[in-house]
């Protein structure tokens, strides 16, 4: 019982918190993939830039809450410009070009961040301090806030895709962008806005996780690999699947860390992916043959 409350339960919650934030990242990745057919290798760097933009805004205004608005907006603007300048000209080419392009963009963003902010590790102080007694243990308030914020965001995204006209348009574009174009919708603008939105989500995830983890130019690389695994597990192009898979991976990661060297957890997570690929190659919710 003691073991349950003192060790297992906090770790389970940690996993849930991390999984929810990972879900924000993976969701953006999935939508972009469904829409443009491009797996965005620079997504992890947008996540990293969100954290750095947050540090910059906090440095200027001394308010985490202002940063929560300004940082995603600035990264979204960067995402929109990137999309218009680099991705738009190659839509009609093979997806191969998009892959290599975003891989290059990732390098540019990462090294750019290193040039501007240096390679040192940085931290943001959590805006919410203290801890709350919860189910017989005490849990940091900031992590509870993180869980709440991510859940609300995921809910809002769900509402956006099911209840608003813009969300329905995005889903329609995933299904058949050409037909949508024929119906008179400005598809290039839709693509740009979606890309910007997914960049903002990644940036927000980066900023929200920054007080828990450290901020450094390479922080995106680890996350993007996890996000890729999440997308593969959830089923390519399935939004609900990515959220479920993100929670599974988040919890698995923090539970594995209990029993094995934390540095080896990445290998165990990878083991899960291999098993799922053998047992169910299309992932949890993927349909056979979709987006191949």
């Amino acid at each position: 019982m003691d073991y349950l409350v003192a060790v297992l339960l906090p770790q389970l919650l940690h996993g849930l918190v991390f999984g929810a934030a990972l879900g924000l990242l993976a969701l953006g990745l999935t939508v972009i993939f469904g829409l443009l057919g491009v797996m965005n290798f620079a997504h992890g760097e947008l996540y990293m830039l969100g954290a750095y933009a947050g540090i910059a805004v906090v440095g200027l205004t001394h308010s985490f809450w202002v940063a929560m608005i300004l940082a995603p907006l600035s990264v979204a603007a960067l995402g929109a410009v990137t999309e218009i300048v680099t991705l738009r000209p190659i839509y009609r080419r093979e997806p191969l070009y998009g892959l290599i392009l975003t891989f290059g963009l990732a390098l540019v963003f990462r090294e750019g961040a290193r040039q501007i902010w240096g390679g040192d590790m940085r931290r943001i102080l959590p805006p919410v301090t203290g801890s709350t007694p919860l189910l017989g243990m005490t849990y940091p308030n900031y992590r509870l806030f993180l869980l709440g914020a991510s859940s609300v965001l995921l809910l809002l995204i769900w509402v956006f895709f099911t209840r608003t006209r813009a969300g329905v348009l995005v889903r329609a574009a995933v299904q058949d962008a050409e037909m949508l174009d024929g119906l008179g919708v400005n598809v290039p603008r839709l693509f740009t806005l979606t890309f910007a939105g997914s960049a903002a989500l990644a940036a927000l995830a980066g900023l929200l996780l920054a007080p828990v983890f450290t901020v450094y130019p390479q922080m995106g690389v680890e996350m993007i690999l996890l996000a890729f695994i999440v997308v593969i597990l959830g089923g390519m192009g399935s939004m609900g699947g990515s959220v479920v898979a993100a929670l599974v991976i988040g919890i698995a990661q923090s539970l594995f860390a209990l029993w094995m060297n934390p540095q080896r957890v990445a290998i165990a997570i990878f083991g899960i992916m291999i098993v799922v690929l053998i047992v169910r190659p299309r992932g949890f919710f993927g349909r056979e043959g979709v987006l191949e």
Binding site: F33, M39, E94, P95, L96, L99, I100, F103, L225, F228, I229, I232, M236, N261, Q263, R264, A266, I267, F270, M273, I274, L277, P281, L291, E292
Partner: protein, 355 residues
């Protein structure tokens, strides 16, 4: 001339073979040419996959790194025969590539790029955190390999010809592959995978085969790499852009470990002029550094000592538990060392107060 070997290729290889005979060519350029040829071979093997079959691999760094580690691990344990090292590398890389290529080609489209990348990252993590294989330092200070007993590959010329021979082998392999029926099928798969399948070709088997060939060629390049520079580190994987790092251990070149190979040259120079010192940790968790020179005044030395200790304590990772600094000792170059009380850092620079 046959379709496989062209006059142009023969002329190119002839020129390359004559390169070391040029009068007055510096050793440095020979070693640079070594890198160029090696990476040329890797680019060719990657082109088999990306150019001819249309599969984007982000995981070739792992084949390269595994090959390098296989060689380095054998050489570190006293096996100096080139052929044993290469053979072992082929086995290791081949086994790994078989698994990767199976999973990566099982589904179509984006999976190949993603899975090769994720597999490569796992290999990187494994070597990065496995102390048996040197952890993040990698395996360094290897002896020269032997072509056969008593013939070490020690001079830059011999190393150059080794890599040239490898390049010729890789080129010939790629030529044979792309001019054969097998190569035509690969192009067909790139152009229209469904049609190739309907024509009765087992697409996955072809993809796996070309993936295996490409992986083995890259792995062999990796296996040859430690022979050139005598060390393998986890950073070999993925960071092909940072070649400066690899030029160090012979003492021929500025070394990134001391910060003299850096993108910010101006900053490095001002830092060193301003008295920047480098910390070094040895295998037994001792920290070594220089706090001054004989020409410094006593006060300056004490001040440097205090600043260094403060800095070490400031850099202490928050996860470190217990006493961080256990013992401190001071020594002159080649002189005996004197233990110092590590607890005293503050107020060292003030004059002792007469009481």
């Amino acid at each position: 001339m046959s379709r496989v070997v062209t006059w142009r290729a023969l002329a190119a290889f002839g020129t390359l073979a004559a390169l070391p005979a040029l009068p007055g060519i510096p050793t440095y350029y020979l070693l640079l040419a070594f890198d160029a040829l090696l990476f040329g071979a890797i680019a060719m093997s990657l082109d088999l996959l990306m150019g001819y079959t249309g599969l984007v691999s982000f995981g070739h760094a792992a084949f390269y790194g595994l090959g390098a580690y296989a060689t380095a691990i054998l050489m570190e344990r006293g096996v100096l025969s080139l052929w044993a090292c290469l053979g072992f590398s082929v086995l290791v890389v081949g086994a790994y590539a078989l698994v990767v290529s199976y999973f990566a080609t099982a589904r179509r489209g984006i999976y190949f790029a993603l899975l090769t990348l994720i597999f490569a990252e796992v290999v990187y993590t494994f070597f990065r955190y496995t102390q048996t294989f040197g952890g993040s330092d990698g395996i360094q200070g290897l002896p020269d390999a032997e072509l056969w007993r008593g013939v070490p590959i020690d001079t830059p010329e011999r190393k150059y010809y080794l890599v040239l021979a490898y390049l010729a082998l890789a080129y010939a392999t790629c030529r044979v592959v792309v001019t054969s029926h097998f190569g035509r099928v690969l192009v067909a798969i790139r152009e229209n995978e469904d049609r190739a399948r309907f024509l009765g070709y087992s697409v996955q088997r072809y993809k796996m085969a070309v993936c295996l060939i490409s992986a083995l060629l890259t792995g062999l390049a990796g296996a040859i790499y430690p022979i050139r520079s005598a060390f393998a580190t986890p950073d070999l994987m993925g960071k092909v852009g940072k070649l400066g790092r690899l030029l160090g251990p012979r003492g021929l070149m500025p070394n990134p470990k001391t910060g003299t190979v850096t993108p910010g040259v101006g900053k490095a120079v001002t830092d060193i002029k301003g008295g920047k010192i480098e910390f070094r940790v040895d295998r037994h968790a001792n920290l070594h550094f220089v706090i001054g020179k004989a020409s410094f005044t006593d006060a300056a030395l004490v001040e440097n000592y205090a600043a260094a200790i403060d800095e070490i304590l400031r850099l202490k990772p928050s996860a470190a538990k217990g006493r961080y600094l256990r013992k401190v000792a001071l020594a002159t170059t080649m002189g005996p060392s004197i233990p110092v009380d590590p607890g005293k850092t503050r107020g060292l620079t003030e004059e002792p107060q007469p009481n």
